[in-house]
Amino acid sequence: MQTCALSLLVFTGASQFALVGALAAGGNPLTAAAGAFFLGVRNAFYGLRLSQLLALPRAVRPFAAQWVIDETTAVALAQPTRRSTRIGFAVTGLSLYVLWNLTTFLGALGADAIGDTDAWGLDAAGPAVFLALLAPMLKTGTERAVAGLAVLLGLGLLPVLPAGVPVLVAALAAPAVLFLEGRRRGTARNDAHNSDVPAHHNDVPEEDS
């Protein structure tokens, strides 16, 4: 029942898995929800692209919003015309929504029949799903640095913080790496600038005074 409500109302897979994972680990419902929320933030950026492509009337947008997810965006962006974009978005959205909720329902029914899910290795399905979602995102060194720092934070803080909180702290890896990257780029730019004007090296300590 709760699983089905999640699929009907939230309808963005990574957030659902994160919420269930955090709750199963004994996490506080609000920290669990916060982690799920951050995973859903990317949908706002899909909506941004889609609103230009779909050019929907304002009244329709609240209804279309629930279908703004990875898959519908991918299909809609691949279409050459506005008409096919709209059709692609609607068909993908509808078929995914129906199938996602139908299979959720079957899964919720089936879980009781399976019994001990650990004996079947099903507890490894959760992290495998996350890994499969994560892998295509690790395109450059920046993403890998963020992922590595997040793993360290998530595991390192696990024994000392309440369940669910370490994941939220690990999310700080994203702004932290961005900040460091920005600083490095800023320093590189300053260095380039300074090499043109050697007299203005103010960050080098004067040793021979």
């Binding site: 898995f17 680990a25 290795g121 495998a128 499969a132 992922a147 998530g154």
Partner: protein, 102 residues
């Protein structure tokens, strides 16, 4: 009851960000820094979640059959296997290692 609170908060939050993307004028979210951050947040969260669900047992860090399952999933990903096959690899290997007493 607590679970319903979490479901409600997640549903509202996730719907709000979806709608925000459709309604907000492009300029507000198009700043490069905001875009980079939104792209990197899921990376950090997914990486931390993957690691925790592989190594965590309550508040303790453990090495058990799940590690073998995740290694199988990673190998499947490197071989560009489809999503379901990746998850199936993790499940089957974990169950196999457990059955052998791992």
């Amino acid at each position: 009851m607590n679970t319903w609170i979490a479901i409600g908060a997640t549903a509202l939050g996730c719907y709000a960000v979806k709608l925000a993307g459709l309604l907000v004028p492009a300029g507000a979210l198009e700043k490069p820094l905001v875009r980079r951050l939104a792209a990197l947040l899921p990376v950090a969260l997914l990486a931390a979640l993957t690691a925790q669900q592989t190594f965590a047992d309550g508040h303790a860090l453990v090495l058990d059959a799940r590690v073998a399952g995740l290694a199988a999933a990673a190998l499947a990903l490197v071989l560009r296997a489809p999503f379901l096959l990746v998850v199936a690899a993790a499940v089957v290997v974990t169950a196999g290692v457990r059955a052998m007493g791992g």
